[in-house]
């Protein structure tokens, strides 16, 4: 149930974030075109691009967690008895869960208490930019919870998939 929900959420956010990435590319390219070809720079292109990137970074966190693509150091836990390893890995995920919960909570509080501020070039409220923080917490919590349940079900964890990163 949770797993299905988490996979569904990842699929949707993936499409959304891919869309944001396309818009961001088009936006900056458009900015380049206006600046160097038409010599009539768009004042908002840079700001919009940066805010889109912030959204990508925040909305995308659950996708990366889902694919276990966050770089982690597993050399220490790989060399201890499987039982203890399972417990430690579970604990490490609970920490991530707590981090996600807290960041989400901070995000909500931030939005509630934030000083009204308008982006000078885009003429939108900065509220919309920070709007992604509660989602950061939410997506992180859902995908981590999904993995915790999965780990807990495999009472005797087999050879864990290598946590691989690219960078």
């Amino acid at each position: 149930m949770l797993h299905k929900f988490s996979s569904f959420l990842v699929k949707i956010t993936n499409a959304f974030v891919v869309f944001l990435l396309c818009v961001m590319s088009a936006d900056i390219l458009l900015g380049v075109f206006f600046r160097y070809v038409l010599v009539k720079p768009l004042p908002w292109a840079e700001d919009l691009g940066r805010y889109l990137m912030v959204w990508i970074a925040l909305f995308g966190v659950g996708i990366v967690m889902h694919h276990k693509a966050h770089v982690a150091v597993t050399i220490c836990v790989d060399n201890i008895p499987p039982r203890a390893r399972g417990v430690l890995l579970l604990f490490s995920k609970i920490l991530v869960l707590a981090f996600g919960l807290f960041m989400g909570y901070l995000g909500v509080r931030f939005l509630a208490e934030m000083f009204p501020q308008i982006s000078p070039t885009l003429h939108i409220s900065m509220w919309w930019v920070y709007f992604a923080f509660p989602f950061y917490g939410f997506f992180l919590v859902v995908s981590t919870l999904d993995q915790i349940v999965e780990d807990a079900q495999q009472l005797r964890p087999k050879e864990r998939e290598e946590v691989l990163g690219r960078g």
């Binding site: 840079e46 995308g60 966190v61 693509a69 770089v71 150091v73 220490c76």
Partner: protein, 428 residues
């Protein structure tokens, strides 16, 4: 006291396997709490870490590399490299290194170089009688050129947190990249002769040579776009990277329209995973940076470093030792984000050129991609070849030694780094 608590939290969470991005995040939140600052500050600083124009070049270069890859550029590069070096002893290894060097001027990421060339080359090298260990060793050690030869994700990160120009860093990476590349080629040649690996026996005709050369030309436009604009001082690196995305997109659509559009969503999704992984680290580093500055930890690290020596040569030696160790234990982007703001002022104090310092750090961190236990490119090749980390690490060793020697050269002959940026007027 605070710094000790933070070090324990950071080390402890990493050891039990918390992903580095969240170890940094948790440590940062503890830091904000210890300093009794309002917790919402974390949101502001996380945002501030990401809200930087030059960082946008990271997703763009990742995407451009992915697009060029699904456009089939890897095969084209391998065929082109075959023309150049295929007839040397151990030709496939040489091809690999040359293709890596060209691929490095399209992508800025070591792991993407390792996975792309690994999946293409390992099966072929197996067929031709190369030991898988050797093939994996060559590919892993050549993949570190990805972020040394421009463009480079690590250089963008260095530029985003310091006042070193990303463009100047890009240009400064050329000669060091070539030095390391040639070092690897010589090493591969010596090993290949000892093990009697094959070479390409037949000679290519004129038609083959020109055909392969012409097909490879679009690949060389990429560095021209990226560096041309930056060299001329008209483009920022981020703008250049967006143009690189547009170019890669057009190239793919024209070269193989159907396959390209079929694989486009997959390539976009892969770029998202790679980019967001790095952006998550960068955001958390935004909070950590504030904590370190507010708690004057930076100042104290600096002071204790300067107690040891103020001699620039000794300083650089210490920096190399420090970063080679850090490279074994940490993910390069995270390591740069945490340590460079602390150490750069020191470099300037003892009289090391900031650009030179930046490049030395980047080369160190790139070597960190192939040093166990945390050597990301080693893991990529473990995944492709199914060999153990120990075996691949051993296969990488001779190449690693050469890279460390090259690092020494780059460290103590600053002109290798500074010559090109000076030539084009990016630094004085």
């Amino acid at each position: 006291m605070n710094s000790i608590i933070l070090a324990i939290v950071f080390g402890g969470t990493i050891i039990i396997g918390v992903p580095i991005a969240f170890s940094m995040g948790i440590t940062a939140l503890v830091g904000v709490a210890l300093l009794k600052a309002p917790m919402q500050l974390a949101i502001l600083k996380y945002f501030g870490g990401l809200d930087v124009f030059s960082i946008m070049a990271i997703p763009f270069f990742v995407l451009a590399g992915e697009l060029m890859n699904i456009a089939g550029i890897t095969r084209v590069l391998v065929e082109f490299a075959d023309v150049l070096v295929g007839r040397f002893r151990g030709g496939m290894a040489q091809i690999n290194i040359v293709a890596s060097m060209i691929f490095a001027s399209i992508t800025g990421s070591a792991t993407s170089a390792a996975s792309t060339l690994g999946t293409t080359m390992i099966p072929e090298m197996n067929k031709k009688g190369y030991d898988t260990d050797f093939s994996a060793g060559v590919i892993a050690s050549a993949s570190v050129l990805g972020p040394i030869i421009p463009p480079s994700i690590l250089m963008i990160i260095v530029g985003s947190i310091t006042n070193i120009s990303v463009g100047a860093l890009f240009v400064s990476g050329f000669i060091p990249g070539l030095i390391i590349g040639f070092g690897l080629m010589i090493t591969a040649w010596i090993i290949a002769r000892k093990k009697m690996y094959p070479r390409r026996e037949e000679r290519f005709g004129f038609k083959d040579v020109t055909g392969r050369g012409i097909r490879a030309i679009p690949a060389f436009f990429m560095p021209v776009i990226i560096l041309g604009g930056v060299f001329a001082g008209i483009f920022s690196v981020t703008e250049a990277s967006s143009v690189a995305v547009g170019y890669a997109f057009l190239y793919g659509i024209v070269r193989r329209p159907r396959a390209f559009s079929r694989e486009l969503y997959g390539a976009l999704s892969r770029s998202i995973i790679v980019s967001v992984m790095i952006l998550t680290v960068i955001g958390a580093a935004g909070i950590i940076g504030w904590v370190l500055a507010a708690d004057l930890i930076a100042q104290r690290v600096a002071d204790s470093f300067l107690l040891i020596s103020r001699n620039p040569y000794i300083f650089l030696a210490l920096i190399n030792i420090f970063y080679l160790i850090v490279g074994c234990l940490m993910e390069p982007a995270a390591a740069i984000l945490i340590t460079v703001p602390l150490l750069l002022p020191l470099a300037e104090t003892v009289g090391v050129h900031p650009l030179h310092f930046g490049l030395v750090v980047v080369v160190n961190m790139c070597i960190g991609f192939i040093t166990p236990p945390v050597g990301l490119c080693l893991y990529v090749l473990c995944g492709i070849t199914k060999l153990s980390l120990e075996r691949i690490s051993r296969a990488v060793l001779p190449f690693l030694v050469v890279e460390v020697i090259a690092l020494g050269l780059i460290t103590y002959v600053p002109i290798l780094t500074l010559f090109l940026p000076r030539l084009v007027g990016l630094i004085k």
